[in-house]
Symmetry: C2
Subunit: 219 residues, 2 copies
DNA sequence: AATAAAAGTGAGTAATCACTCACTTTTATG
DNA sequence: CATAAAAGTGAGTGATTACTCACTTTTATT
């Protein structure tokens, strides 16, 4: 009935980011996220991570074979948790079941939801954006989740919205790029580039929704 | 009469990226750009740069005091050359002189122009996007150029377009964020994330222009 | 309580790093 | 041509790196 939550639970268990964690292991993950976000993966040393985690350096390598293994263990579960709800089954079904005027509230729901998630995980978002470029393993994982899981559902929803006359007849890839640019552009500006500005979050979210909606409206 | 070109010439001379360069120095810059773009600044070694440039390692430090000095020398002139033409005097004047229906062709001109520049300098774009996060000097330089130079002209043009009924009455900061998200989202997807796809560049540019225009149109 | 497995430790190590410096070669100047 | 300044060199250096390993401590199992 709620397959999104099921999926999330499965994701969490599979990698054990919040399950079966030794206290020291949790300290290591916390310290690593902080330091990776601050100075970048390549400029972070395992000795500094150990120090901030109040742990001996050897303890890190007891749980993670290499420093890169530590990065992967941090980043891949986050990537899935960030991307999947973008167009998870729950949202997609809504597009098909409800009247076509729901495009606006669908966008609004997604954006609010991902906004809250980004707010809680800003350092992780930063790490992913920074390190994706240099680690093929992460790019592969992105492909697996986005191309095979998110993209098809995104397309299906768009096709339906086009039929309902809600969205212009442009290539799906183009539309998806535009939506993702607007959403990610907002989240990155809000949480990475200028987190300390006086943001009127509700308004910015609604303005962004309106921007996407009118930008993609059938003329 | 053509103050954009004057400005560009001044920028080029001031740092001497293409003037007064020893042949070996040019080789060093070329190799550094390549390697920084490939593996990131922190993971690039001066020995590897020297090797690819066919130069002794000491030669690098004859011209650049530190490795970071080499990065700065590469990145700051590019940053200015990339940002200034976004809303340089030449473009802004056009908004004030020509009829208000010119919003579309203004966007189109800017996007085509920056597209061509990004196409020629994709590795540099990659380096800037990656390294901005970790080098306060680069953030400062960004502030100097964008906030003090580009942003005010951007605002003036928007105010005029709002008066002409071409653009919705939202906060300028919000509108600028949306335009920059759409433009950068396109350039990053096109040249960084998926440069090898079969792109119909002219169409994507026009679609992006239309997306921005309708997204910001007065309703 | 006995025993084994898992978790934790920190000194040690080989490799790599950015950078220096005494020296040679090339270029510019009068 | 003489001379000095600028450009180029590469072996050398001290600091830092990710990772190992022999050992101790804690936890789980019977």
């Amino acid at each position: 009935m709620n397959d999104l939550k099921d999926m999330m639970r499965a994701l969490e268990q599979e990698d054990g980011e919040e399950k079966n964690l030794t206290p020291k292991q949790a300290q290591i993950l916390k310290a690593a996220v902080e330091i990776f976000a601050e100075k970048g993966y390549a400029s972070s040393s395992t000795s500094e991570i150990a120090a901030r985690a109040n742990v001996a350096e050897g303890t890190i390598f007891r749980h993670y074979k290499t420093k890169k293994d530590l990065l992967i263990s941090i980043v891949t579960p986050f990537m899935a948790k960030f991307m999947v709800p973008f167009f998870a089954a729950r949202f997609t079904r809504r597009v098909f079941d409800e009247p076509p005027e729901e495009f606006r509230s669908l966008l609004s729901t997604i954006l609010k939801d991902r906004f809250a998630f980004a707010a809680e995980n800003a350092p992780l978002l930063r790490i992913v954006l920074q390190e994706m470029a240099f680690h093929p393993e992460l790019q592969q994982r992105f492909q697996d989740v986005f191309i095979k899981d998110v993209y098809p559902k995104f397309e299906a929803a768009l096709d339906r919205l086009k039929q309902g006359g809600q969205v212009v007849d442009k290539p799906n890839s183009t539309i998806i790029r535009m939506i993702m640019s607007a959403v990610m552009g907002f989240l990155i500006t809000r949480f990475i580039l200028s987190p300390d500005l006086d943001w009127d979050d509700e308004r910015e979210i609604e303005e962004t929704v309106a921007f996407i909606m009118y930008g993609l409206a059938e003329k």
